[in-house]
């Protein structure tokens, strides 16, 4: 048998009636970058969590460095030199970087008197790998990208031989992703083995040595990256052909539906995050806002949805001038909003699927009559949406928490689009969802545009911006740096603007 660092055999794991892993086999060679690919809910995270000791498999064996082992807890994994960077960051926001890194590494009675030395060591390590992390910073003050680097540093500090990264690029900007991928390559070249989960096929093609495809809790194939192509990977993943390029119809944009003049928004800490921003969105048009995350996009979206205070000279929706007060009930005035964090902002998790469908309309006829909810109507309506948006769910009375990420996102999209908005604000619509769902969501957005909606799309995923936008605005430090048409030849120009160069100087 070939030399391998990890071999998982016939791993089975169920959660109640959910069968997350149904006998998975996986082999990883030392020093390789091995990608795991699969739709939402295919069982990638569960499999990796088993490897990291977070879950115990119901049955199946794990061999590590040619020894059969059981990994009872993350502690065991760390001792075996397995590191993991989780899909949702596992950092304690109120502690410093250094404290997070040493967390759990010492016996309880240990007095952390040598913190300066530890910080120095972390600092050195950070320099060695060019990670640019300040050990004394509080994690809650860090950007998402920085937090991720802390996660990687944590694993390296613990001396990992095998590093598992669960969708590390889902929350990163293109530049950050780029940087991360080349960094992973470097690590692999130094001998580290890397297991890498992603939904982005370009990344798989770019960085991995081999790919294992999971579907419905089973590993259906492992292939050498050099011997495959994105189209084949997509087909194996989804079980059908996937459109790799969306068909965007050319269409004439109409009159201005939404416009904002001189918007100013402060962030949580009271610092200006959006500065004198003006833009307009027309009928039958997608305006994309590109930019590195942390440049005020979140605040822009929050302000337009009326969820934070903002100052502006004028906001006009559908020829009506809006006040601050109007903003908080914009969804009653014809705006729909797909928020960037579906679990935190978009959904009420213990509620059922159908209760989530009516989150904005529950008060209106026919869902509510004289204040009483009309359960029959709501259920019929939900079943209709489930069918129309092909959401995979057993029963609309099921709690939405049981759905996979992609299907949760589809619920949000279905709810918002079904309101036939005049103006649609979309923030990171496909973050963290698989290519099948991504394709579907993007198609829906375009369909909405073709039906006449004005759409403002915020995304850090340049590819998504290009795929959907009719016009691209680049945002940097709270300002719009300039406007560019979605012409692939002008990617470099956009990149420069995202880094702060104005149109004129670019």
């Amino acid at each position: 048998m070939k030399d391998c660092i990890v071999r998982m055999e016939n791993i089975v794991k169920s959660f109640g009636s959910v069968r997350a892993s149904r006998g998975v086999n996986l082999e990883v060679c030392p020093g390789e970058i091995h990608c795991l690919l699969g739709e939402n809910g295919a069982g990638k995270t569960v499999l990796m969590s088993i490897l990291y000791g977070l879950y115990q498999p119901d049955s199946g064996d794990i061999y590590y460095k040619n020894k059969k082992i059981t990994i009872g807890s993350p502690k065991d994994a760390i001792n075996l030199r397995i590191g993991m960077v989780h899909q949702h960051f596992m950092l304690v926001p109120t502690l410093t970087v250094a404290e997070n890194i040493v967390l759990g590494q010492y016996p309880a009675w240990k007095v952390l008197s040598d913190m300066p030395a530890i910080q120095e060591k972390i600092y050195q390590l950070s320099k060695e790998f060019d990670l640019n992390v300040h050990p004394e910073a509080l994690v809650q003050d860090l950007s998402v990208g920085e937090q991720q680097r802390v996660e990687i540093l944590k694993a390296l500090y613990h001396g990992a031989d095998l590093l598992v990264l669960d969708e590390p690029t889902a929350v990163l900007t293109p530049q950050e992703s780029e940087h991360l991928l080349s960094f992973l390559r470097e690590l692999a070249d130094k001998g580290l083995t890397i297991l890498f989960i992603t939904h982005k096929l370009e990344e798989v093609m770019q960085v991995s040595d081999r790919v294992t495809i999971l579907r419905d809790g089973k590993a259906i194939a492992t292939v050498n990256t050099s011997e495959t192509n994105p189209r084949e990977l997509a087909r194996m993943m989804v079980g059908r052909d996937v459109l790799m390029e969306l068909m965007k119809k050319e269409g004439e944009s109409g009159e201005v539906i939404f416009s904002v003049r001189n918007l100013n928004v402060k962030d949580e800490k009271g610092l200006p995050a959006v500065k004198n921003l003006s833009l307009e969105v027309r009928e039958r048009e997608v305006v994309g806002i590109a930019g590195v995350s942390g440049n005020g996009q979140t605040e822009l979206a929050l302000a337009l949805a009326g969820l934070v205070e903002s100052q502006f000279d004028e906001i006009i929706l559908n020829k009506h001038s809006l006040t601050q007060k109007d903003l908080s009930r914009l969804n009653h005035l014809g705006m729909a909003h797909i928020p960037e964090d579906r679990q935190k902002m978009g959904l009420i998790l213990p509620f059922s699927v159908s209760e989530n469908f009516i989150a904005e309309t529950y008060r209106n006829e026919p869902f509510s009559k004289k204040g009483f909810l009309q359960f029959r109507t709501i259920k019929d309506y939900s079943n209709m949406l489930v069918k129309k948006f092909s959401i995979r769910v057993g029963d609309v009375d099921e709690a939405i928490a049981n759905l996979s990420g992609g299907n949760q996102q589809k619920v949000v999209v279905a709810r918002e689009l079904d309101r036939r908005p005049k103006f649609l604000l979309v923030n990171q619509p496909t973050r963290g969802i698989d290519i099948g769902a991504t394709e579907f969501v993007r198609q829906q957005i375009l369909a909405e545009r073709d039906a006449g909606s004005a759409i403002l799309l915020i995304s850090t995923d340049l590819e998504e911006i290009f795929a959907l936008s009719d016009r691209i605005l680049v945002m940097y430090e709270g300002r719009i740096m300039g406007e560019v048409p979605p012409d692939h030849n002008r990617v470099e120009e956009i990149g420069l603007m995202m880094a702060g160069k104005t149109e004129a100087t670019a």
Binding site: Y52, M84, F89, L103
Partner: protein
């Protein structure tokens, strides 16, 4: 107005402040650990009562105050184990279990006290920890009386708070406690045993609360009385929030509460103030609300996982 009576008045208030604050302080510092580990124990009142009874009965029977204190500590550990069994292992709603503890505390101490002491005809008082002057320091005018003429359990707070702060912020244990209260899953992924840390957080809280309860009988009053805790467990809960979940903050908040409590007793005793005494009695509680309003401008967040059972 004469200056001297003014100073005496102030001195008297301040000396009383520290004493009044002490039982609350013990309970609150412990609860800081409990809440920092993500568990809310509204049963402190009951736990303190049990501690007071255990401390009293053992000290009374043995004639040894230190044994009494040890018994209180043991009772605190036992309370903590039961509380943790329900809230951490069984993962029950913490407020339900806390409410149950308050009932059990009142019930069990009431029944036992009646059975063993109420009709015993014995003299039920014991010799409490006495105030002692610290040599030299105790002679300093003003400060001497305020700071250096207290009993050992009051002095001990000067040790407890820095120690608690040190443990919470400067030891691996403290970091783990903070981590399981803030982001238990993150703690889990670095190999921290979340339930175990929460057990510890709870145990520290109940043990300290029991000491606070025992303080009332071993170092303040000299015998157990049903309901002797009189709401101090609830005040301690408020003090934890008010002190932004830090040991020093808890000390500050307890002292603040103490000062207003002492003040209201003294204003009543002056008798010349025309405010109805009930308004004076409400003063510490109103002031707590007012300060809370002022302080929450700082927006100190509660531990994120507070009240949420882990998995």
């Amino acid at each position: 107005m004469d200056l001297l009576p003014g100073i005496l008045f102030l001195q008297s208030i301040l000396a009383a402040t520290w004493r009044m604050a002490t039982p609350i302080l013990y309970a609150a510092v412990g609860e800081v650990f409990t809440e920092r580990s993500g568990v809310l124990n509204i049963g402190l009142e009951g736990v303190m009562l049990i501690g007071a009874f255990a401390g009293y009965s053992v000290a009374f029977e043995s004639g040894n105050l230190v044994l009494g204190l040890l018994a209180a500590i043991l009772s605190g550990i036992l309370s903590g184990l039961i509380f943790a069994l329900f809230t951490v292992t069984i993962k029950a709603n913490q407020i339900v279990v806390g409410a149950a503890f308050n009932m059990i505390g009142a019930g069990i101490t009431g029944v036992l006290y009646r059975v063993f002491y109420a009709e015993s005809g014995k003299v039920l008082s014991l010799k409490t920890f006495q105030p002692f002057q610290i040599p030299f320091l105790g002679d300093i005018p003003f400060l001497g009386e305020v700071l250096f003429n207290q009993n050992i359990m009051v002095y001990a707070t000067l040790l407890v708070v820095p120690l608690a702060s040190f443990i919470l912020y400067k030891t691996a244990f403290g970091l783990s406690i903070q981590a399981v209260g803030e982001h238990p899953k993150a703690a889990d992924t670095v190999g921290i045993n979340v339930p175990r840390m929460r057990y510890f957080g709870i145990l520290i809280g109940t043990t300290m609360a029991s000491i606070g309860g025992a303080f009332l009988v071993l170092a303040y009053a000299d015998q157990f009385v049903e309901g002797i805790v009189t709401g101090r467990g609830f005040i301690a809960l408020a003090v934890v929030v008010f002190g932004s979940w830090s040991p020093w903050g808890a000390m500050g908040a307890s002292l603040l509460f103490g000062v207003f409590y002492a003040l209201q007793l003294r204003i009543q005793a002056m008798g010349s103030v025309l405010i109805p005494y009930q308004f004076l009695q409400a003063l510490p509680y109103v002031v707590t609300i007012i300060f809370l309003i002022g302080l929450t401008k700082r927006r100190v967040q509660s531990p994120k996982a507070l009240g949420v059972p882990y998995k």
